[in-house]
Symmetry: C2
Subunit: 235 residues, 2 copies
DNA sequence: CCTTGCCGAGTTGTATGCAACTTAGGCTCG
DNA sequence: CGAGCCTAAGTTGCATACAACTCGGCAAGG
C-alpha cells in the first residue's frame, strides 16, 4: 500500500462505506486531491477503480458522484449476492479441507459466544462473520468468483446492517452458520447452497424490514442484540 | 466515444479478444502510447479498466500483462457464468413484456434459419445470438447483474468458440433458444433457469471437448456448421 | 415575459517532465 | 569459479501545465 493511489482509494471507499460520504454527493478531482494531499492523477485512478466497482457513478466531462442506491437496486443486489454466495457455498462444500472445517467450526463457536452475551462486541462479531464468509470463498477456490463477490457484497455495507438484527434474527443467523459447517462436513453441496440461500434471504429481509427506520429508530426490539451479516473487509 | 482513453481501451480489448494480443504478453505504457497515438495518461486509464475487468494483470511498478487463462480458470468461469445467466433467465421469465417475447421469438427464428443453411453467415449468427442474450439480460432488469455478466462473459471470447460447434451442437443450441422463448412465454422462471443452465453447460462442454485442438484442427466434424455461444459486444 | 445565444468560471481530459522503483547484467571479492 | 553487490537502463508512479468541454447566468431580441 505504498502508492498514493491506494491511499486515496482506501480513504474514499472507507468514507463511502461508513456513510460519511453520502450517496449523490459530488467528488471533484481537484477537491479530493487537496483534501487527501495528493495530485489529481492518483485521485483519478482511485475514482476509476471505484467506478468499476460500482461505488461511484461517472460521466465524461461531468465528474463523479457517490452512487446512491434505490430500494430497487438493493433488492437486485441482494438477489445477485444470494446466487453468488450460494454458488460459493456449493463449490466450497466439495473442496473444503479438514483444516478449513476446524477453522469454520471455531468461528461459528466464537460467533455464538458473542451472540449469547448481553452486550456483544460488534467489532468482533463483524470480524468473525467476515472471516467465516471469507473462508468459504477461499475454499470455493475461484479467483474470479471471489472478485465478483467482493464487488457485489461491498455495496450493501453502505447501509451497514449493524443494529438492525433482533435477538431472533441473531439466533437464526448463528444457526445458519452452524448448519453450514455441518453441510460442509457432510460435503453436501446442495445442502450448503440451500442454507446459504436462506441465510442471505434472511439478511435481505432484515434490511428490507428495517429500512423504513433510517437511524436512531432501531425497529421495535431493544437495541441490545445485533449482528451484521455483511462482510466488511476482504482479509 | 470521443475520449482517447476510450479509443485505447477499445483497441486493446479488441486485440486481446481476437487473439492478436497473446496471453502473457507485456503491455508497456510508453509502447502502447506510441503505437496507438496517445499519451501515457489515457493508456494508463485503459489498462486500469482492463485490469478491473480481469483482462490484464498488473503489479505495482512492474507493468501489465495480458492475462492468460488456464483450463482451470476457464472451468471456474463457465460455472460462474452458468449461475449468472441462469439467474438472469429466471428473473427475465417473470418480467418479459409482450414485445420482448416477440423479439426473442424472431431472433430464435433467424438463428434457426441461419443454422439450416449449408454455409451460415457467422457474423450474423454471432450478432443474433448476442442480441438474444442481451435481450434476456435487459428483461432481467438488474443493472448490477448486467455489469457483472458483461465482465464474466467477455473472457470466454478470448478463445472464441467459432468453428467449434458440430452440427449436433448447433441443433441443440437452437433448440435451447426456442425452449427459452417458450419458458418465457409461460413465465416459468424455474423452466427458464433450467434451460439456460443446460445451454451454458453445453457450451462449456463444446469448449472443453475441442480445447485440445488449438486451431486449424476443428475436431472431427466437417467445418461447415458452427455457431458461437458467446456474446461479442454489449449493445 | 420568454426564448436564444453567448460568455466565463469551473471541471475534466490529455500531455509531459521528473522521481521512485524493478530488474538484468557485469564487476568485485571471497 | 561462484555468490553477492552495484550500477544503469527501462518502466511505472506522481505532479503539473495546458486544452477541451460543461453549465450556469446574463443580455439581447422577439
Amino acid at each position: 500500500m505504498d502508492r498514493a493511489a491506494d491511499r486515496v482509494y482506501e480513504a474514499l471507499r472507507a468514507g463511502i462505506l461508513d456513510g460519511s460520504r453520502r450517496g449523490g454527493s459530488r467528488l471533484t478531482e481537484t477537491g479530493l486531491a487537496e483534501e487527501l494531499n495528493a495530485s489529481r492523477t492518483p485521485v483519478r485512478e482511485a475514482l476509476r477503480r471505484l467506478a468499476a466497482e460500482g461505488l461511484v457513478d461517472t460521466a465524461p466531462h461531468k465528474g463523479a458522484r457517490v452512487t446512491d442506491w434505490t430500494p430497487h437496486d438493493l433488492e437486485e443486489l441482494y438477489d445477485l449476492r444470494s446466487e453468488l454466495e450460494a454458488h460459493a457455498a456449493e463449490r466450497a462444500a466439495t473442496r473444503v479441507g479438514e483444516e478449513d472445517l476446524v477453522r469454520l467450526a471455531g468461528l461459528a463457536d466464537q460467533l455464538e459466544q458473542q451472540a449469547r452475551r448481553a452486550q456483544p462486541d460488534l467489532e468482533a462479531v463483524a470480524r468473525i462473520n467476515a472471516d467465516f464468509h471469507d473462508c468459504i470463498q477461499a475454499a470455493a477456490s475461484s479467483r474470479r468468483l471471489a472478485a465478483v463477490l467482493r464487488s457485489v457484497v461491498r455495496v450493501p455495507l453502505v447501509l451497514s446492517t449493524y443494529h438492525r438484527y433482533s435477538p431472533e434474527d441473531l439466533r437464526r443467523s448463528c444457526a445458519h452458520h452452524r448448519e453450514l459447517v455441518q453441510a460442509f462436513r457432510a460435503k453436501d453441496g446442495r445442502w450448503a447452497r440451500a442454507v446459504m440461500t436462506a441465510h442471505i434471504a434472511a439478511a435481505k429481509d432484515v434490511l428490507m424490514r428495517t429500512r423504513e427506520h433510517p437511524a436512531g429508530q432501531p425497529a421495535e426490539h431493544p437495541p441490545t442484540h445485533f449482528v451484521p451479516d455483511s462482510i466488511p473487509e476482504p482479509r
